[in-house]
């Protein structure tokens, strides 16, 4: 139902993101999806990677602030209106979306989302027979 996402604290300094990416490259970790939430002072890098635990250890080793969070992941049909339909289901259940991003993996279209109520969201996914994606699906 959930997938591991890396969250890395990024100070707003030139080259800082590169440093994170260089660590992942050095350890042969593949980045499947990546997004950065930014403010004027700092940001949070969110990434789905091939080996989250290895990435966590490698980044900690290099003194980065990093954590793994389990977040919701849903496979979508590659057709217009699919994402809108899915989000409607959450709205109908009075669930607020905190952030969302989407990416393609092979032929799959994948939606990643964080809501204000993870347990209730899982209920929505189950009851509507939405297809969840796990790490194994991204190998």
């Amino acid at each position: 139902m959930t997938i591991s996402q890396l969250s890395v604290f990024l100070e707003n300094k030139t080259g800082y993101l590169n440093q994170v990416l260089a660590v992942l490259a050095k350890h042969n970790i593949n980045i499947i999806a990546l997004t950065v939430a930014d403010t004027s002072d700092y940001g949070i890098l969110r990434a789905i990677v091939s080996d989250p635990q290895k990435a966590l250890d490698a980044l900690r080793e290099e003194q980065f602030s990093v954590r793994i969070h389990d977040i919701l992941s849903i496979e979508m049909d590659a057709a217009p209106g699919t994402m809108s339909h899915i989000l409607d289901l959450f709205t109908a259940a009075d669930i607020c979306i905190e952030y969302v991003y989407a990416f393609s993996f092979g032929s799959k279209s994948i939606l990643i989302l964080r809501t204000d109520n993870q347990n209730k969201s899982i209920e929505v996914i189950k009851s509507n027979h939405l297809k969840s994606i796990s790490e194994a699906d991204l190998k």
Binding site: F9, E11, T39, Y42, Q63, F64, V66, R67, I71
Partner: protein
């Protein structure tokens, strides 16, 4: 002999002799024309121009009385003196003051809130407080006589700055627990000013009333005076709209250059009013028209300069820590209170006619206390708040700057990895929570920026926690 009756007699002896000296002085106070057609230039000529011998006698009598009072009524001092093998009778003149114990800011904290008071609460008519070093404020109490004396010394300061009953005085020091506003207020009323108790903040309104009411005197911190000057044009005013002629600035250290700059910007005479709540509040000393040091009202506040490390008394003219003994204070009398302000003393009579000892303008401190917009701030207070919250590491760096002549504070604090979530909002809530906690603890707005763990330099020995970028 009965101990108690002896004590009472000794206390009375000090008081009686002081009263005698004072009655001499008050007899001479009605100098000049009683209708006061000539503007008063010295508020209390008898005391402010007293010869050194009489001042020595007055200070001696007052010190003897003070030592008896604190020994008999303040357990803290009785214990200290007993430990030193010191009895009140060992103090025979002001020269014996070096035998007495020092008092430090920590002692006020340790005796929070009222344990250093020398009179019962029903004799205390006012309490003021300033932020202390670790969360608890420093509390001071005043009796009716203290308030009268405070009024007297502020009146002397204002008269020294050429202020009189024809003046309209805008008091932009904060009113409330801070001693600035109320302290200056009563002295200003005593000299007969029309007082505008506007308190601090709200720049637009300050300028509006200054223009509409025709304020001739502004009392505030020097940095706020500079800020107001720079805000004139953007609020649609020019110097022509203002009748200001004098500034009474204090509550933070400022240089001679800043005084000159303020005089130029406002077209006024600027005076430095020195004080601290532990001793009284504003009005401990001020500079006369010759700006050759600040005249200390030494009949109330006896100054000494001591070596910052050894605490030995230093000779006249040598820089060291400024120490005050509150010769007349009843509410919270303090022996040899170490201000940690650095200064020198000058006993030469001044061109203005006053004989009172002068202190050099304060330019530094022997501890790490910062003065931000007139508010005392110790880096340890920040640390205390962070540790108490326990949601960040206690590694921080405080950046002090001045934007538009107002002090700004930015706190960079290392994020604790366990507080890292995947949403920005959680981090923003964390910084806001720290900002609020700091604001309620120290009364200042601090911009909090979270930084990567282990990026704030660790220093060996004494940590550098503050970067002060304010220009001189």
């Amino acid at each position: 002999m009965n101990d108690e009756s002896r004590i009472k007699r000794q206390e009375a002896r000090g008081v009686k002799k002081s009263a005698k000296l004072l009655s001499k002085e008050s007899g001479a106070r009605g100098y000049g024309n009683p209708v006061q057609s000539i503007k008063k230039t010295i508020w209390n000529k008898k005391v402010e121009c007293m010869n050194k011998k009489d001042m020595h006698a007055l200070q001696s009598e007052r010190l003897i009385s003070l030592v008896h009072r604190v020994y008999n009524h303040v357990p803290f001092y009785r214990k200290k003196m007993n430990e030193m093998g010191l009895k009140p009778s060992d103090i025979q003149s002001i020269d014996d003051i070096v035998k007495l114990p020092f008092t430090y800011k920590n002692d006020l904290r340790d005796n929070y809130p009222f344990n250093l008071f020398a009179v019962p609460m029903h004799d205390i008519v006012r309490v003021h407080a300033s932020s202390g070093t670790t969360g608890k404020p420093t509390t001071v109490g005043y009796t009716k006589t203290d308030i009268e004396n405070w009024k007297e010394v502020v009146a002397r300061c204002l008269t020294m700055a050429g202020i009189g009953k024809e003046d309209i005085m805008q008091i932009s020091y904060g009113y409330g627990l801070f001693t600035g506003g109320l302290g200056v207020h009563y002295g200003a009323e005593a000299v007969g000013c029309s007082v505008i108790p506007i308190s601090g903040g709200n720049t637009r309104r300050q300028l509006q009333l200054m223009s509409d009411f025709g304020s001739t005197v502004l009392a505030c911190t020097p940095s706020y005076a500079l800020h107001l000057a720079d805000a004139l044009s953007e609020n649609g005013y020019s110097l022509n709209d203002m009748k200001l002629k004098t500034g009474v600035f204090g509550a933070e250290p400022w240089t001679e250059n800043m005084r000159i700059e303020l005089e130029k910007k406002w077209g006024i005479k600027a005076h430095d009013i020195y004080g601290l709540s532990e001793i009284m509040g504003p009005g401990v000393a001020t500079d006369c028209a010759y700006h050759a040091g600040l005249h200390i009202h030494e009949d109330h506040f006896y100054p000494e300069i001591v070596h910052p490390q050894t605490k030995e008394s230093l000779p006249e003219g040598t820089e060291g820590e400024l120490v005050f003994t509150t010769l007349t204070k009843e509410g919270i009398p303090l022996l040899r209170y170490n201000t940690r302000d650095l200064s020198t003393l000058n006993h030469q009579p001044c061109t203005c006619g006053r004989t009172s000892v002068r202190m050099k303008k304060i330019t530094g401190r022997s501890d790490d206390m910062l003065i931000i917009r007139g508010v005392n701030l110790f880096p340890s207070q920040i640390e205390h708040v962070l540790l108490e919250m326990g949601e960040t590491s206690a590694h921080y760096m405080l950046y002090v700057d001045r934007a538009n002549n107002l002090d700004t504070l930015e706190l960079k604090v290392e994020l604790d990895e366990t507080q890292l979530t995947d949403t920005i909002r959680d981090l923003q809530n964390l910084s806001r929570k720290i900002e609020q906690a700091l604001n309620s603890a120290i009364g200042l707005h601090v911009k909090v920026t979270l930084v990567e763990p282990k990026t704030i330099a660790r220093s060996e020995g004494k940590a550098v926690r503050v970067v002060d970028n304010r220009k001189k």
